[in-house]
Amino acid sequence: MFRFLIRRVIGALVILLVISAVTFFLFYAIPRDPARMACGKVCDAELLEQVRVNLGIADPMPVQYWHWLQGIFVGRDYTGIGHCNAPCLGYSFTNSEPVFETIKTDLPTTISLALGAAFFFLIIGVGAGMIAAVKQGTWMDKTASSLSLLGSSLQIYFVGYIAMFFLVQQLGVLDPPSYTPFTENPGAWVSGLLLPWLVLSIIFTANYTRMTRSQLVEQLSEDYVRTARAKGLSGRNVFFRFAWRGAMGPIVTIFGIDMGTLIGGAIITESTFSLQGLGTRAVRAVTDSDLPMLLGVTVVAATAIVFANILVDLVYALIDPRIRLA
């Protein structure tokens, strides 16, 4: 198991290195001039050169990338600004702040959004899928299947605006979306995020309902389930100890990927609800041509996705011992 984990972590680090390098070099291929954008309304050639030096973009590309990599492990000094502590993901001249400091303030919003939504879509989605599988062919199954089809065909920006219009503007039953730290006011944390959670769960629930149903239906028709039934095990035991366990593997996989993506930044969700998390940060970094920030957000998002996948592999391995041997 330990060797399995080590192998996965090394693979993840290589992936992250490749992603950071590709992002770094791609950014330079885009015909944009961050220096011009950081220069004032009246910007002459001399001033522009000064800005280039200030922004640290006067060095050759590979040198800049090497300095960036070093910064992650040992920190980095910026002339006139001071030391950026490890892990230093760079310094954003747009925000006048180390990248990691900014990202730290974005993460709580993004994590709150992801966890809250996961709470709803797991309970509703897996629950509905289980009912549909057990009550195969009944009106409950048909309703769950139809609703999930409807849910999976909807988009966040569509449901989000409709929900905001009716639930916030017209009926006034929910608060306008906002983020208040849980530690500051748990009530405001819930009321501000409830709408995004519900909307996200509508979209995601659909997948989980369909996935859970199909997996359970498949498992329930497996030979080992029939054998268990034949041996006289109770229906509940057969369902939870055999069929459910077998069905959860793929669901855990999908969940891991979804969580990684959500923590990596739910760009559309955050934009729709004007929440300031990693997603909106990424968009702003692109439009500001803020390379250090863009690189930082990309690496953090990639790390979230890659490590969520490692976690999934681990859980999967626990559920299904055959994986460990593969």
Partner: protein, 586 residues
């Protein structure tokens, strides 16, 4: 409009620290009333911003009717402030927010009716001019304190202007650097040297300029020249946490999310003619697109009732709904902006005056206005200086008002006269859906007049770099400029004087006309405001006779706010809502 922070500053020309936009007839007033008609330049009252008396400079600021102290005021805007170090502040939006904690030598005193006067803010008056505007003196008020209780000194004032020369200052306005004697060689105060043309004596500071500038005191009202305490100047890092001598100080900041201000207990209302400082706390929130903020104001729930926007306007998707609803419209402040969007014509490529005039005659002003949302959001421009800026003279040389759809026949005749029928024109636009549509309209109109048009979409972020190149390959391109302070000089000199032609400069048309240059030189040193205004109006006409550009439009801005916000008045000097005068209703 969706602009990134810096694109917004560069691309719109709204970056101007202090452009002037005066209240149109339907502007919301302190009571939040607004008339039912759309505003327009024709109906705008072009009030002038006069220099106030010494008494006006003393403070307190004129009270707002019905105002109460206390409560928390919120703001909802799209983008965070780009800088907090005054030396780096150029955008009027940032200036509008920073007025609460940054104070300069001069500032604008606004009364409850929106009348705006230039007064001394930290100075005892709006300055004393000598030698035809070459020497300016300001005396610091006694006992003004920083947020730590230390007194603001004349050394702080000198240091503020000297640090503008440091190499980390690259984004703020650069007038003092260019105007002060010896400014070209000075490298800032950090090596222990003072700039000789800034002298201090007692509590008075004197600036010696290379040339006369009668509006130096207006220029100083830009937030870019707010005072920085020498003791706490952390140079580059000052941008992160500036020191306050205004009614509020920074409690916390989360970049791109929020900026929270709390009372500065060392501030004295009696010494501040600009700010009333009514709310106890101000929470500025960022990251809300115009559509999101508009919907919040429509819903008017929770904290949004106590909110206003300094940058976000009523979203174009909601203009009809909001402006068509008498109740909602009461909470909208409508202002005509003095920014002029125009199409400079590249004089190095289109050398024939008649061809340039033909472009003007063929211009589809009415079609473009409709495309942009009609008279509720834009007003057709016929001059370079806005009708609301001192120095404006009303003229319409190319029939924009009489023949708003364009006059292709007249244009054709001019092209024929010049022997340039079928003249090729390369027109550059910033890449956006909106620009693509406008480009089609312009192309159709010009082709109807006998031009052959090639349109080029240029990336938003490199657009101004490209049109600023002296050897660019465009004949015509969309640009915009807002004056940095309310004067003809701030409109004309940077963009139309021959001396300003440089790589990356903003004399985009590359106009270098001896007659215009001479007239600019004369108007710049004119100390009589009336004569100066007349002269700038004449120069505007001269440039338009040469047809160095096609004036396009002036934006009309609609600012929405919550039902429990009062005292929303316009500061015509800062061209922004006068945030220091806003209060929250219980």
């Amino acid at each position: 409009m969706s602009f990134s922070r810096r694109n917004f500053l560069i691309a719109t020309g709204v970056a101007a620290g202090s452009t002037m936009a005066l209240s149109a007839c339907s502007s919301g007033n302190a009571g939040g009333n607004s008339a039912s008609k759309a505003p327009s330049m024709d109906k705008a009252e072009a009030a002038t911003i006069t220099v106030g008396t010494k008494a006006d400079s003393q403070g307190p600021a004129p009270e707002m009717p019905g105002a109460k102290k206390g409560g928390t005021l919120y703001t909802l805007d799209q983008i965070d402030f780009d800088h907090l170090d005054p030396a780096q502040i150029y955008s009027s939006y940032t200036g509008a927010g920073a007025v609460l904690f940054l104070r300069g030598l001069t500032g604008y005193r606004v009364d409850s009716k929106g009348n705006t006067t230039l007064v001394g803010d930290l100075a005892t008056d709006a300055g004393t001019m000598k030698d035809g505007g070459k020497t300016w003196s300001f005396t610091l008020k006694d006992g003004i304190k920083w947020e730590d209780g230390a007194v603001v000194t004349i050394e702080d004032v000198r240091h503020t202007f000297e640090r503008l020369f440091a190499d980390f200052v690259t984004e703020g306005p650069r007038y003092p650097q260019n105007w002060l004697e010896g400014g070209d060689k000075y490298k800032g105060p950090y090596e222990g040297k003072h700039l000789k043309s800034i002298e201090v004596s007692g509590n008075t500071i004197t600036f010696r300029l290379k040339e006369g500038h009668a509006d130096f005191n207006y220029m100083l009202a830009m937030r870019g020249f707010a005072i920085v305490p020498k003791k706490h100047d952390t140079q580059k890092k000052y941008d992160k946490r500036p020191y306050s001598c205004g009614p509020y100080k920074i409690e916390s900041r989360s970049i791109d999310k929020s900026l929270t201000l709390v009372r500065n207990e060392h501030w004295e209302a009696g010494k501040d003619p600009v700010r009333n400082g009514y709310p106890d706390k101000i929470v500025m929130q960022f990251g809300y697109q115009s559509l999101a903020s508009t919907d919040r104001y429509i819903a008017d729930r929770g904290n949004d009732q106590f909110a206003l926007s300094l940058l976000n306007e009523v979203a174009s998707e909601r203009v009809q709904k909001v402006m068509g609803d008498a109740k909602l419209k009461q909470r909208v402040m409508t202002q005509v902006d003095t920014t002029c969007f125009y199409f400079p014509i590249n004089m190095t490529r289109i050398k024939d005056q008649k061809v340039r005039q033909a472009i003007n005659w063929a211009w589809p002003a009415q079609q473009l206005k409709q495309q942009r949302g009609g008279s509720q959001v834009t007003e057709t421009a016929t001059t370079i200086i806005s009708p609301l800026t001192p120095g404006h003279t009303d003229f319409d040389l190319y029939g924009k008002k009489t023949k708003p759809m364009g006059d292709p026949e007249k244009a054709k005749a001019l092209l024929k006269e010049a022997g340039k029928e079928g003249q090729k024109l390369v027109i550059a636009f910033q890449q956006s859906d909106k620009a693509v549509k406008e480009a089609v309209t312009i192309k159709n109109a010009l082709e109807k007049a006998g031009f052959k048009v090639v349109t080029k979409q240029v990336d938003k972020t490199t657009f101004y770099s490209e049109i600023g190149q002296l050897d660019n390959e465009f004949d015509l391109f969309a640009a915009g400029w807002g004056p940095d302070w309310p004067a003809g000089y701030a409109v004309i000199f940077p963009c139309w004087d021959g001396s300003q032609i440089s790589e990356g400069g903003v004399n985009w048309a590359q106009l270098n006309d001896t007659g215009v240059n001479k007239a600019i030189a004369a108007a710049s040193v004119e100390t009589d405001p009336e004569k100066a205004n007349k002269a700038w109006g004449e120069i505007d006409r001269q440039i338009m006779e040469l047809a160095a550009c096609v004036p396009d439009y002036h934006p009309i801005r609609n600012y929405f706010y919550g039902s429990k916000v009062g005292g929303v008045v316009w500061n015509a000097g800062d061209t922004a809502i006068a945030l220091g005068k806003v209060f929250v209703k219980a």
